[in-house]
Symmetry: D4
């Protein structure tokens, strides 16, 4: 069974974003990977400010041992799609919301890719799910990791049950208000 | 005439939501039911985190004596529609707004159900109206409850009249501003 | 068990719309009711062109024996909400799409009702589901009708299974295309 | 030339809204009318909470001497359109923004009226312009008032010139930033 | 009582549009005015292709005897707002839908005017209502014309009643479909 | 190296959809898999019409040897998200556009999943990319398949070059138009 | 004064697009340039299918003598922004509408560029304006070309006047319709 | 090589906006020009409040030595398009976001210009990019300025690299969290 990340593990997942201002959103992807003990790396790779390095990053990704790339971007969010154009790896895109438009621009810029070059898009701001999707992708051919995902899903169920206790208690405590 | 909720009444309406974080929105449904003395229950039932329990909840609802289900959910809001798929009861859906997109995603995910499986959708964040709609549904075959709904509507009119007094007073007090 | 509609049954459901041009959409509500043998009536009741008659229709509905009102409207779709303001009955609103905006205006005008006056909104153009929702509402206190709804849901499952046969056959017949 | 509003003047413009919570937005309409010395009234008239009074208000408006109605509403904003259905007067609609959807629901519910019953719609939250539009409507057959509107437009120009001074000064003061 | 338009009447309403391609939409405004016997003129006045003539048109409108301007435009629809900037007359704006975006761009470009310069906006493609709104504006100080508008509204009611006959007949003729 | 699909191969990818009416869109996913010789199956699995079978399908998928599920759905598109809730496999969601709203409802219903349960969403109608994404996922741990993906991407480049020839020829042939 | 394009002129403007399917939209840019006698080239340069060639195209553009690049793209439209990242030239972006979403995805993907890398965006499908914008850019430092642009704008005014004649004739011919 | 702005330089770029309230957004355009040493001016020029001066500003711009106009506006944002109608210069439009609608109204009002009159539109609130686009336009025929733009783009790359250091450090410091 795969254990926690060690600094000597070669990264299996690359998490990239256009700016360090995306990190508060994107770190949730890293945390999800850590919960499953998946070695990963995180870096700024900007489609618009360092286009050649961005292309090089995508081209070298598979050769360096990466199996999945997670890319977050906002506005005219080109990073996930451009990486998908230069790597055969699955690329997960995270629409990062900016100050205006609630991430709708980021979502459409990432998800509406032309036929031939897919990006696996998650929800606006959904970096945690990007990490979990990367785990599922790796687990597709790794029975031990898949088993951990099954147990993680069981933990979600248990947490939901616990939340139900909160609601049942609060709902019960609400004194009936009658009449008008 | 139906009186206030007692802890020994069997619930007629089930209020469910995907997480306890939905309770601050959804409690308004419970309060509306309490105003009409309708026994109800509230719980966390998550389509995505406890799918089998969710289906069991829907399947057992009618047999347990529920007549209406109110389900609140946000984002890819599957709970109301999935419950409607497994119960013959009327299901009222409440689109809960999340941090982005102002509940438009929740609204469309709930209201755009395919032919065969309806969800009675109310406004974004409209949990109070969900409760009142449940009352109307129960009142459709309960003359005494229907009479209470008529009186409730009269109370709305009276409250609106009182609000008019506020506006008339403030409008009258506004000193004329002239010239430019 | 309730049988088919007879011309001598008193209508339980009123289907109204702003114009006869809405009938091609709204007739699906009537057809759904007929499948369940629910007596109903259909008429043009325009909030904007005959406002007093519209209000009278709503006010008299419960007294005439109606239990549910289904109202379809497009654009600035005021009919469902205005009827809900003058009747204690549950009102089901159907957003009828017009030539522009794909029914988004109709949907928002119907669903975004203020607290106190709910409208049970279905999908854009979803008149069939409006009829089925009326059946569920009536069935909430009618075990025989509820049993028919359960069987209807089983028929949906069987139809879906039959559709699966189509897809399996077509998918199997697609000759593998290889190489590039 | 028309002077400032006096408490003994018969109102020419009625300003109505669904709730006193709309007054902070709608008072700007009253202030605009006061700047032009147009006698007006303001009140709560709710389409959904007091529908018959709403219809009566519209029906009596012309007979009471009103020449224009300004109606503000939010969400499923039915008030302006319903008033337009029962009065031959021009009705100006103000989309009041609610907590979600930025007033897009209010705008579409007001502006998308069916052929036959127009509402003169202004911007989301544009109550001041509603007042100014009422002035223009009254001025269409009142040369003295029209002349005041011309002078008001001149005052807008002068105010814009003054604002230019601010920008020119601030822009000039910005020290050149050079190099990278 | 005002009679039909004669070629010798001085126009009271000016209908302008950015291109002759808008005429198929805008002619409905002219037809509405003709039904009420309001003399009017129609012309192409383009904000973007003949800006100075557009401004001159607006400036001269009141002096030439016009009381209302109706302006239709699509896309970045600047004509109504620019005319409102140079005339004290009420300006009615008609959002003309273009090939894409269903007129949402036209609507927002027309209705979202800044404080100080209102445009009375009607529905996307709502030229007929623009004509009727001009009639209401003129009728605000013309009792005979207002009386005609009241009768017009009665004719709308009668037409709606006739449409109800159609629906009642078709609904009645629908043979009950039973079983599944 | 993996060869073309054979009827005796055990499927690695399951393609499911809510109705056979989705097949004309979804078959492009099957075709993409066939181009890469990936054994797959296709079936109707409806979240709303056969919820228990849907859950069973998801639960059994990994055990039956599937590595990826592709799910297409329209409107309140619950199928991809519900399957993701009951399987540890990566689920690719295809928003199928319906008659109204251009697939925006389908897109939001699929992509806006809550934290914990990701769906890898592709473009509206983007079934071909769903198939290609499944290939990339399988190729993440299959060097031979990854090599085929690289060659596929080269073929896209070559096809784009060929298309450039078309444009260069047509652009060159356009006779200069001068004067105005 | 600049004359018509000759096959021996070195191109000043490059028109590129992601596929030959964009040519029917994009050719209008070429035609506008030809009207002004601006030498240009047109080609397929795909951000997603030939990313390195795309970057090379942008990098070499200025050195080859191009002064402006016009790039058209649809959906997740990355081409204009990526070219702007690798060239110091002004890049004009044309949102090409696809089968769904009316080009709103293309528009947002092109216009919402991050600070540092601008794209000069025109209307959805606005390739003719892209060509005219390129002319204005070149004319900013070319008095003779600027003079031609002034005359072109005069020709727009004259064409608008001619269109007015059409409307005036059709409007005059509309026989008054009276009574109801 | 062009140096910093001096108060004696004749402005090459005019920055205009409808109100001084737009200056906090628009000053970023001035700052970008200052970084490149481009002489510029800034002023309030309101399409709606001083239409004739606005037209005069546009008409005189080229004659006064301006080469580019940058115009910011919000809501029914007519300023950029109206200026483009009266000048042959390239006009850059900045959609300024207002309190509601997140600038979507401003964006559509600016970008959706009719054929013949282009506006080079940048992102919502993208004034800095408007300034940089003006620099690119001026640099199209100014090799020294173009060289500075190339170096500016290099500085963007270096800044992005520095940001990567931040992310790599923070990502590395995140202690692995395991188990659930």
């Amino acid at each position: 069974m795969s254990g926690p990340t060690s600094s000597t593990d070669r990264p299996r997942v690359g998490i990239v974003m256009g700016s360090d201002s995306d990190w508060p959103v994107m770190r949730a992807a890293a945390e999800a990977l850590e919960e499953f003990g998946i070695a990963h790396e995180a870096d700024v790779v900007s489609a618009h400010r360092m286009p050649q390095e961005m292309i090089d990053y995508g081209r070298d990704a598979a050769g360096r041992g990466l199996s999945v790339i997670i890319a977050g971007a906002g506005g005219a969010a080109h990073l996930p799609g451009m990486l998908a154009a230069v790597t055969p790896l699955p690329v997960v895109g995270v629409p990062v919301p900016l100050a205006y438009l609630d991430g709708m621009d980021s979502l459409l810029s990432i998800v509406q890719m032309p036929a031939g070059v897919p990006v696996a898009t998650v929800a606006v701001g959904g970096a945690r799910n990007a990490g979990l999707l990367a785990v599922r992708i790796l687990a597709a051919t790794d029975p031990a990791l898949q088993e951990r995902m099954v147990r993680f899903q069981e933990s979600l169920r248990e947490a939901a049950h616990a939340k139900g206790e909160v609601v049942r208690r609060e709902a019960g405590g609400a004194a009936p208000r009658v009449g008008f």
